[in-house]
Symmetry: C2
Subunit: 155 residues, 2 copies
Amino acid sequence: MSKKVSIEDALCFNLYTASRLMTQVYRPYLKKIGLTYPQFLVMTLLWKAKGKDSDKGTTVKELGTRLYLDSGTLTPLLKRLEAMELLTRKRSTHDEREVLITLSRKGINLEKKSESIPMEMFCNLNLTMDSFIEIRDGVKEVLANLHDKVNEDKN
Amino acid sequence: MSKKVSIEDALCFNLYTASRLMTQVYRPYLKKIGLTYPQFLVMTLLWKAKGKDSDKGTTVKELGTRLYLDSGTLTPLLKRLEAMELLTRKRSTHDEREVLITLSRKGINLEKKSESIPMEMFCNLNLTMDSFIEIRDGVKEVLANLHDKVNEDKN
DNA sequence: ATCCTTTAAGTTGTGCACAATGTAACACCC
DNA sequence: GGGTGTTACATTGTGCACAACTTAAAGGAT
């Protein structure tokens, strides 16, 4: 008879809890720039897109694909960022189904204030670079397998 | 000049996304027994406590400590499980600040229907047992470090 | 052109998470 | 034993996540 695995040894539980604690440790740093963690993820993608090939704005669809989020989550989140005047939302004239997200001056300027955060967070993790990479790649593999699984179930 | 790390390579993002996808893959299995993932975690702890040393019920505090959740999350969640008649909530007579959670017959019976879930989930991960353990222990280490960090900040 | 399907975004409703605050019971200390 | 601080739980308000559905535009195919 196989002994039952305790919840503390389940991968799902450790991912779930580590993710939440990670967000908690991020919170004070993000508070300084007035963002939540999901908002920070969106802004990070927009900072990267800015200065890219003929940047006419990023679609909601593109943000959703990269962050694995749907419009039900993104639309209200983007509206809040718009209310903070960090970005604008505008229907594409080329394809009126799309909404294009563009950083405002204020949104662009926020990037500088966020630059120290990744390094500060890495220090909080108390890991060597080697184990950081090893653990991250492990989680990445799980993410990839789960993503495959979700996609194959959709068909 | 250090190149900026893309969000897809950040540990936080991979934990956040892997955790959410894990819950998505769990969802159809949990739907069969009528639970959400956090509810399943609570029930799992209660199933384990049952049959323990003189089980007079588990306190909300104890559930919160094990799951890293506070009463703001647990109280409404437990009320929903109570409304489903899976458990009862009763003030302790010994210490009236405490609320004792006890499984109902229906709650106890649900355990059998959940027994196949861990193995089914393991298969969905598409990992060897060795890499499963390696990845899980990596995430566990991150969790432990983050927990230390959160605690030292509280002082 | 007309129908049919697909796609992008928005809306609604439910259930977490969590900060901040409130309330009552217990613990301690002089 | 009365004041003081601590603890356990509940409440309120905000912001995700996500399922289910709606709306409107675009893409075919005939």
